[in-house]
């Protein structure tokens, strides 16, 4: 810890957030602020993109300018688009060995434990994005031999233009919402994954997103295509330094799950509390396909994020497990969206949220059962845990059923940690804080057990940190 604290003396006061250090920042300091046509053109020129992509970027920019800010959800009025840096290049060349990275970037990833996880073969591939671009990338050879493509999105566009063009924007069009438009206009980095028919990627592919500079806008674009009967698990994690002014993370994640394929997408979001996290994630599921979102929102100042499944084929299935922790000055507006567009489709949403120290956690969801989606089933369960008197928890589900032959249920409960529970544990020798941590861990356990082991441990550790000082 000492080196981290030396790097950033303010960290000690901040307490729980342990990823708040900042590296030296020559690239960020000189980067241009604000959004304009020139910025979009420069990004596209720098990447030597094909003309179709440039055109989409400009179209998206105009859509972004035209679309009003959302009037629901979180308060975004302090978000100043002209103070954001839209593109920051931190290193000239993408590395395939950690040693090739500039020293302070390498140190950052060391501290985050990424190379260690890779060494221990816990992941099938790693991509690490620092500011606007992917700085490190590696995939296991055996996966490559089976035809699995796992690159950063910029390389994906360069090396697989046909595939990329076919699917880019097919799940989330440029005009989907204001922030998807923004992402489409200025996107950079992200992952491009293609899994050939029948291939099962048994160990997760991992992406790591880091913002370093102040007022950074990170706009990664991830495109995952799981061909028929394949399986892949993609895990992403996010951190950023603590600054006094705000950064913006506005990603777009598009996933195409083909017939009988299965994709699991896990997010452990732990941005520092000066990051607006406004993300659009959506998957289309063909016949018999399964999409699973596991969405853990621990960090950020404001998160608005509702992973969606469009169930387009018979017997397609969508599952979302969502946990949100809202601490001081945090608003987690998270949830899920399920659109049933074919018969015999099913979906489940399980949401667990904990609010403390005046934080606000909201579940916002949509289940839509379109005409013709006969024999569809959906179940939504939201549980919220409040640990004090000043925090806030909201539930905004929305259900739209247009077919008679369906089953749809929604349930929500809100409870507080009772004095009885605390007393019981304390009488067995636990401190109040340990007892509180145990109750919260028990509360989120159904979701934690769905995570890969090292992430479950990480989640428990984060809960421990989050709960520090929760009592008294």
């Amino acid at each position: 810890m000492s080196t981290i604290e030396e790097l950033n003396p303010g960290l000690k006061d901040f307490g729980a957030y342990e990823f708040g250090w900042a590296d030296s920042d020559a690239a960020g300091a000189t980067a241009r602020r604000g959004l304009s046509e020139e910025v979009v053109r420069d990004i596209s020129t720098l990447k030597s993109e094909p003309e179709w992509m440039t055109k989409i970027r400009f179209k998206a920019l105009r859509l972004f300018e035209k679309k009003p800010m959302p009037t629901w959800g979180s308060d975004l009025s302090k978000l100043d688009f002209q103070n954001i840096k839209y593109f920051v290049k931190s290193t000239e060349k993408q590395a395939t060995s950690w040693d090739d990275l500039p020293e302070d970037i390498r140190n950052t990833y060391d501290k985050l434990g990424i190379p260690e996880a890779e060494k221990q073969q816990m992941v099938g591939g790693v991509t690490a994005q620092y500011e606007s671009e992917v700085v490190y990338h590696q995939i296991r050879e055996d996966l490559e031999e089976q035809g699995v493509i796992f690159t950063d999105a910029d390389t994906g566009l360069r090396e697989h233009p046909e595939l990329f063009k076919e699917y880019f924007g097919s799940v989330i069009p440029p005009g989907d919402n204001k922030f998807a438009s923004l992402n489409t206009a200025v996107w950079s980095g992200g992952s491009f994954v293609y899994v050939p028919p029948g291939v099962h990627v048994e160990i997760p592919l991992q992406a790591y997103f880091r913002i370093n500079t102040e007022n950074m806008g990170q706009f990664e674009r991830t495109l995952i295509i799981a061909d028929e009967g394949s399986y892949v698990h993609y895990v992403e994690g996010c951190t950023a330094p603590v600054y006094s002014s705000d950064s913006l993370h506005s990603a777009v994640v598009e996933i195409v799950v083909k017939k009988n394929a299965r994709v699991r997408y896990t997010t452990i979001q732990n941005w520092s509390t000066n990051v607006y996290n406004l993300v659009t994630q959506r998957a289309t599921c063909a016949e018999g396909a399964t999409m699973e979102w596991i969405d853990a929102n621990m960090g950020s100042k404001v998160t608005m994020k509702y992973p969606a499944c469009y169930l387009l084929g018979d017997h397609a299935r969508g599952d979302t497990l969502s946990i949100a922790f809202a601490g001081e000055n945090q608003h987690q507006d998270a949830g899920a969206k399920m659109v049933h567009a074919a018969p015999n489709t099913s979906s489940t949403i399980v949401s667990k949220s904990v609010a403390r120290r005046g934080g606000r956690s909201s579940y916002r969801g949509l289940v839509q059962i379109l005409e013709g989606a006969k024999h569809s089933k959906s179940s939504v369960v939201c549980d919220a845990l409040l640990v004090d008197q000043i925090s806030r928890s909201d539930t905004y589900p929305y259900v739209d059923v247009r077919e008679d032959d369906v089953q749809m249920g929604h349930e929500a409960t809100v409870s507080k940690v009772s004095a009885d529970q605390l007393f019981y544990l304390q009488s067995r020798g636990m401190t109040e804080q340990e007892a509180m941590g145990m109750i919260v861990r028990g509360f989120v356990e159904p979701i934690a057990r769905e995570l890969p082991m090292e992430y479950a441990l990480e989640l428990n550790r984060l809960i421990e940190l989050q709960m520090e000082g929760a009592v008294g």
């Binding site: 035209k66 629901w72 089953q407």
Partner: protein, 400 residues
């Protein structure tokens, strides 16, 4: 054509980038209420509280216009009052207390009806009076498309016990505000029956202020009308209040039946229970239920539960169901909500048919069973009878 150089057609408008204007309401409690018509523009249908409603068919109710035929003796709708002797019946001009105590208009239709009602009907149930018979109000519409405004204030003084049954029949374009003040320790039940003809449109805002340890029950039974939208809202004037909001609705082809409720837990140790159940049959039958509950920081020790169940009987019907819950304190006994939409349970049908009950009767039994628990909570024999009879009629139409 290169978009790269096409500078004339792209311009970055700084106002669209510096967000500024859009700050969402902090909570449901922050939504606007006002007596000034100018505060509510005519809804275009994209507003949060109008997004399910076919507003284009309601333009007649949004114009700031008096009741058709006002003062001529052939008003668009007439109101008859049948009340036990103890009940005082009078009228209130705008601004006369207690008018405006419990209800401040929350949308365009309600503000227009409030402004256009010079003499609001005022019913007072005296303190400690226990009425043996219900007060009956009957609103009769006298012609489809004819515009009618109404505002009624019901005041149950402390420790009184009463029931008020409001029946809507005939046809009109009617907006009716209902303002209910439940005194300390009083026990008041308000039943609103919508038995309109097929071509009536009805918007209503029913707001109650529930006193210390008072008991309030609002029962909405909506069967008739083309578009019916009833907002039933509750606030508390002291601690220990108990509110129960019940609803039963049955939508046929082309009907739009919408029920909204907002329980504002603004006081400690109160309870609220919201239960709405509805069935839908026929092309474009549409029901909407939006149940909002806000638990403010000061509302410690409260308990709330709300639920909505919908039974879709045929193709082409649509049920929207939105339970919203906002909680600003953890010091509560409990809070929850549930919503479900389903169809006939094939297993139940099979079970009954296997015992020799013909499908038609079996379906009827399943629907009656579906409504049974909410109907049993109504506890007003004549209303229960009316509901069960109406369900029978609806079902016999369905199976013909």
């Amino acid at each position: 054509m290169s978009l790269l150089t096409d500078k004339a057609t792209t311009h970055t408008d700084p106002s669209s980038l510096a967000s500024g204007a859009a700050v969402p309401d902090v909570s449901r409690g922050a939504r606007k209420t006002s007596f000034d018509v100018a505060d509510f523009p005519v809804p275009h249908g994209r507003e949060e509280d109008w997004r399910f409603t076919p507003v284009d068919r309601l333009s007649g109710l949004f114009t700031d216009h008096p009741t058709d035929g006002l003062g001529t003796g052939s008003e668009a709708a007439s109101v008859t009052v049948q009340a036990p002797d103890e009940v005082l019946v009078s009228t209130l001009a705008p601004g006369d207390a207690p008018r405006g105590t419990a209800l401040v208009p929350a949308d365009r239709a309600a503000v227009v009806a409030s402004a256009q009602t010079e003499k609001a009907l005022h019913l007072t149930i005296p303190a400690e009076a226990e009425l043996a018979e219900p007060v009956r109000l009957t609103v009769t519409g006298h012609g489809a498309g004819r515009r009618s405004n109404g505002h009624c204030v019901i005041e149950a003084k402390h420790h009184s016990k009463a029931m008020v049954i409001v029946t809507h029949e005939g046809s009109a374009d009617h907006t009716g505000n209902l303002e209910v003040i439940v005194g300390d320790g009083a026990d008041l039940t308000v039943v609103t029956l919508q038995q309109w003809d097929d071509d009536a449109n009805h918007l209503g805002q029913h707001d109650a202020l529930v006193g210390n340890s008072a008991t309030y029950k609002h029962i909405a039974v909506t069967l008739g009308g083309a578009i019916v939208r009833i907002n039933s809202n509750v606030r508390y004037a002291g601690s220990g209040g108990d509110a129960t909001l019940l609803g039963v609705y049955f939508a046929d082809a082309g009907q739009h039946l919408e029920h909204r409720s907002f329980v504002d837990h603004n006081a400690p140790h109160c309870t609220s229970h919201v239960t709405y159940k509805g069935a839908l049959q026929g092309q474009s039958a549409h029901t909407v239920w939006v149940g909002d509950v806000l638990i403010r920081a000061e509302a410690e020790g409260i308990e709330t539960y709300e639920q909505n169940r919908n039974l879709v009987l045929t193709d082409g019907a649509r049920a929207d169901s939105v339970p919203n819950l906002e909680i600003e304190t953890g010091e509560i006994i409990g809070a929850g909500h549930a919503s479900s939409t389903g169809r006939f349970d094939d297993e139940q049908l099979f079970y009954l048919q296997a015992r020799g009950i013909p499908e038609r009767d079996a379906r009827r039994l399943v629907v009656r069973g579906f409504f049974a628990d909410v109907v049993s909570k109504i506890r007003v024999p004549e209303v229960v009878d009316a509901v069960m009879e109406a369900i029978e009629i609806e079902l016999s139409q369905a199976t013909e």
